[in-house]
C-alpha cells in the first residue's frame, strides 16, 4: 500500500532525563571521587516517519521509551537533540501562527481513562473548552458542537452535562477521543489508549478508531505493548527496546518474518488463544534498568544468539528487505 507524503518526521530524536554532576560533586571528582552524570536516555537517536493516512504501531515493553517518543511526537516534551518536522517543515523554524496550527493538528489520546479527564469539568465543557479558547467555534454553539462530536464517538447526547466519574471506563475513553477531535487534528498519537479497558470494551474502542480513520482521514501513531492489537490495526510496526529502535517494517513483514531476536521473543509471547497448554520457554533475564543499560547491543544479556561482538558494538538499523529494517549483528554474517 503506497501512502502519501510524510506527515510527521522525527529525526535523530534523543531525550534524556536526569542531571549532570553538580558543582559540589565536581569538586569531589577533582579530589579523586568518581561521580558521573546521572542520565537516563529514554529515547536515543530515534528516527520515525509517519506518512499521511498511515497507522504506525509503536511497540515495546517498560522502559523502551515508546511513551516518551509519543510525547516528543506531540510536542509535549522538548527533545535534547533531533528535529521534528511537520509536512516537511522543521517546527523550530515555523512562524508562530503556523506553529500554533501544527500544535492543534497533532493530538494525543491517553492511557488512563480516569486520570486523563478533569474530574471537575462537565463533559460538554471538557470537550468544547479548547475550540472555544482557540476561536474555532463560538461560545453560543457549544451545545450543538458537543452534540455532533458525541455522535461521532458514539456517546449519547444526554451524557453531556455529566461529570467524568459518572461515565464508565469505555465511555471515558470515548470522551477523551471526542476532546481530541474537537480541534480537528490530522494526526493522533494513541498512548496505550486501550490498555486499561476490558476486552469487550477494547473491541468497541478499536472499532471506533478504525471508523474515525476512515471517516476523517486520520493518521495514527498507535503506541501499545499488545502486539495482537497492533497487528490488527497497523500498516507499519516499529519495535523499541531501551530507547532504541530494534526493528521496523510493514505489519505483514514483521509478523511473518520477524528478524530481531527481541521481536521474535515478543511474538512468541503474543497473546493468542490456544487449544493445547503452552510450555513456556520465555526470554531469560529481567528488563534492564534504563539507568544502566547494557553496553553494545542493549538486548545482548537476554539474547539467545549473543556473540562477543554484541557486548561491545551497538548494531545499526540496516535494511534487510525492502521497507524492513533491523538492528542486529546476526544480519551481518553470511
Amino acid at each position: 500500500m503506497s501512502h502519501e507524503k510524510p506527515l510527521l518526521q522525527l529525526a535523530g530524536m534523543t531525550k534524556r532525563f536526569g542531571h549532570s554532576v553538580d558543582p559540589l560533586h565536581r569538586l569531589l571528582n577533582k579530589l579523586g571521587a568518581s561521580h558521573r552524570d546521572q542520565y537516563v536516555y529514554a529515547v536515543n537517536d530515534v528516527n520515525l516517519t509517519v506518512s499521511s493516512k498511515e497507522v504506525v504501531g509503536l511497540v515495546g515493553e517498560s522502559g523502551c521509551g515508546k511513551s516518551t517518543l509519543g510525547r516528543l511526537a506531540v510536542g509535549l516534551l522538548e527533545p535534547d537533540a533531533g528535529t521534528r518536522s511537520w509536512r516537511g517543515e522543521d517546527v523550530k523554524l515555523m512562524p508562530a501562527e503556523a506553529l500554533r496550527k501544527t500544535r492543534l493538528s497533532v493530538q494525543m489520546i491517553f492511557q488512563d481513562p480516569y486520570a486523563s479527564l478533569n474530574p471537575r469539568r462537565r463533559a460538554v465543557d471538557a470537550v468544547t473548552e479548547a475550540p472555544i479558547h482557540h476561536g474555532l467555534i463560538a461560545a453560543s454553539d457549544k451545545k450543538s458542537f458537543a452534540q455532533s462530536l458525541f455522535a461521532k464517538v458514539g456517546l449519547a447526547p444526554e451524557m453531556m452535562e455529566r461529570y467524568p466519574h459518572q461515565f464508565s471506563g469505555g465511555q471515558r475513553s470515548r470522551l477523551g477521543i471526542a476532546r481530541a477531535l474537537a480541534v480537528n487534528p490530522e494526526f493522533l498519537v494513541c498512548d496505550e489508549a486501550v490498555a486499561a479497558l476490558d476486552v469487550s470494551i477494547q473491541a468497541q474502542v478499536l472499532n471506533l478508531f478504525m471508523k474515525l480513520r476512515a471517516d476523517l482521514d486520520l493518521t495514527y501513531l498507535f503506541i501499545s505493548h499488545d502486539l495482537g492489537v497492533v497487528r490488527h490495526l497497523a500498516d507499519r510496526v516499529v519495535i523499541m527496546y531501551l530507547g532504541r529502535v530494534v526493528e521496523e517494517g510493514t505489519g505483514g513483514e514483521i509478523f511473518a518474518r520477524a528478524n530481531h531476536p527481541y521481536t521474535q521473543a515478543l511474538l512468541a509471547e503474543m497473546p493468542v488463544i490456544r487449544l493445547e497448554r503452552k510450555t513456556y520457554q520465555p526470554v531469560v533475564g529481567e528488563i534492564p534498568s534504563p539507568m544502566h543499560p547494557p553496553s553494545g547491543c542493549h538486548f545482548h544479556p537476554r539474547c539467545p544468539h549473543a556473540m562477543p561482538r554484541c557486548t561491545t558494538e551497538a548494531p545499526l538499523l540496516r535494511e534487510i528487505a525492502p521497507g524492513h529494517r533491523s538492528a542486529c549483528h546476526l544480519n551481518d554474517g553470511s
Binding site: G170, G251, R277, K278, P282, V283, E286
Partner: protein, 329 residues
C-alpha cells in the same frame, strides 16, 4: 498425580448490604479444584472474579459478607470456622497473590523478615530453619543468588521480581491452594511468560492447586486446565479449557473470544458484544446477559441452570451454541 479434590466451592453467595438494599455480588458460584490443577477464573470488570477469591480466603470487609454456600478445603468447610481457625488456614493451607505485589510486600521490611514472619506465624521453627525454607522457595521461583535477595527491600526489585517473591511467600508453607488475583496483568509480556513458566512448573512438581483470576483469555488458554467464565456475579460457563475454548457454548464466552483482535481478520471491524455490563445493583431479571444476547427469548426471563454441553463442559444458558467456533488451530 492423584485426583483428590483440594477445594470445592458449592453455591457460594456473597452479598453487600448497601443503602439501596442488598446487592448480590456472587450468585451460586460453584467449582471443584483437584490437586495440581490450574483453574482459570475469567471475567471482565464487575464480573465478581476477584470477589470470589476474597470470599474464599475470608478477606471480605463489611458491608460485604458471604451469605450462603460451602467452601470445602480438603473436606473442611471454611465457613464453619471461627476467626482464629481461619487465620491459621490463611497463609498456611491457602495463600493469595495480588495484582500489585506492593500489596503483599511491606515496603519497610527486608524480604527475609517478611518471609520468616510468614513461616513462623504457622510453624514453631527456628530462624535458621526458616531461612533455609526461604532460600528453597526463592530458588523454586527462579530467583538467582537468593541470599543477596533476602537482605534487600522490596523497592530494590523490579515488578517481575516482586511478583516472584510474592509467589515464593505464598509457597512457603506448601499450601493446598493458591489464589492468584491478576498477578501478571501489570507486567510486561516477556516477564509474564517467565512467571507463567514458573507457576506451571511448580504446580506440576508440588501438586498445589491454583485459581488464576484474570481477564486475559490467552493467558488462561496457555496455562489453565480448567476454565470458569463469570458474568455479573455468576459462572456462565465452565469446563476443560479445550472444550470451552474450542466450543464456547454461552453467547458471552463466544462473544468474548470473538472480540479478541487475533480472532478477527486484520483491518476489519472487530466483533463487539453490543451493550454494556450491567451494574450489580441493577441486574436484569433472569439471565443477566439476555439484554445483550442475540439469542435471548422470553424463556431468558428465568435464571438458567447449568446445562451439560459435553464431557466436563457446562453452560448456564437456555440457547447455547453447540457448534465449534472454528477460529483456533
Amino acid at each position: 498425580m492423584t485426583a483428590t479434590t483440594q477445594l470445592k466451592v458449592e453455591n457460594l453467595v456473597t452479598e453487600f448490604v448497601t443503602r439501596d438494599g442488598v446487592v448480590r455480588a456472587l450468585d451460586q458460584v460453584s467449582f471443584e479444584l483437584r490437586a495440581g490443577q490450574i483453574m482459570g477464573l475469567v471475567g471482565e470488570s464487575g464480573s465478581g472474579k476477584s470477589l470470589t477469591g476474597f470470599s474464599i480466603m475470608g478477606l471480605l470487609d463489611a458491608p460485604g459478607r458471604v451469605a450462603s454456600g460451602r467452601i470445602l478445603l480438603k473436606g473442611q468447610d471454611l465457613r464453619t470456622m471461627n476467626a482464629e481457625q481461619l487465620r491459621q488456614m490463611r497463609g498456611n493451607r491457602m495463600a493469595m497473590i495480588f495484582q500489585d505485589p506492593m500489596m503483599t510486600l511491606n515496603p519497610v521490611m527486608k524480604i527475609s523478615a517478611q518471609m520468616i514472619e510468614a513461616i513462623q506465624a504457622h510453624r514453631p521453627v527456628s530462624k535458621q530453619v526458616a531461612l533455609d525454607a526461604c532460600r528453597a522457595a526463592l530458588a523454586m521461583v527462579g530467583i538467582p543468588s537468593p541470599d543477596e535477595r533476602l537482605q534487600a527491600y522490596p523497592h530494590q526489585f523490579s515488578g517481575g521480581m516482586r511478583q516472584r517473591v510474592a509467589i515464593a511467600i505464598a509457597l512457603l508453607n506448601q499450601p493446598d491452594v493458591i489464589i492468584a488475583d491478576e498477578p501478571t496483568t501489570a507486567l510486561d509480556v516477556t516477564i509474564q511468560g517467565q512467571i507463567l513458566a514458573e507457576v506451571q512448573k511448580i504446580c506440576r512438581q508440588t501438586g498445589t492447586s491454583v485459581i488464576w483470576i484474570t481477564h486475559d483469555l490467552s493467558v488462561v488458554s496457555g496455562l489453565a486446565d480448567h476454565i470458569s467464565v463469570m458474568y455479573a456475579g455468576r459462572i456462565v460457563e465452565q469446563g476443560a479449557s479445550d472444550a470451552v475454548l474450542a466450543n464456547p457454548s454461552h453467547p458471552y464466552t463466544r462473544g468474548l473470544i470473538r472480540s479478541v483482535p487475533a480472532a478477527n481478520p486484520p483491518n476489519q471491524p472487530l466483533y463487539q458484544i453490543p451493550g454494556m455490563t450491567p451494574a450489580l445493583s441493577q441486574l436484569p431479571k433472569g439471565c443477566a446477559f439476555s439484554p445483550r444476547c442475540e439469542r435471548s427469548t422470553q424463556a431468558c426471563q428465568e435464571v438458567p441452570l447449568m446445562t451439560p454441553m459435553g464431557e466436563d463442559h457446562i453452560a448456564r444458558c437456555f440457547h447455547p451454541y453447540r457448534e465449534p467456533l472454528g477460529l483456533m488451530s
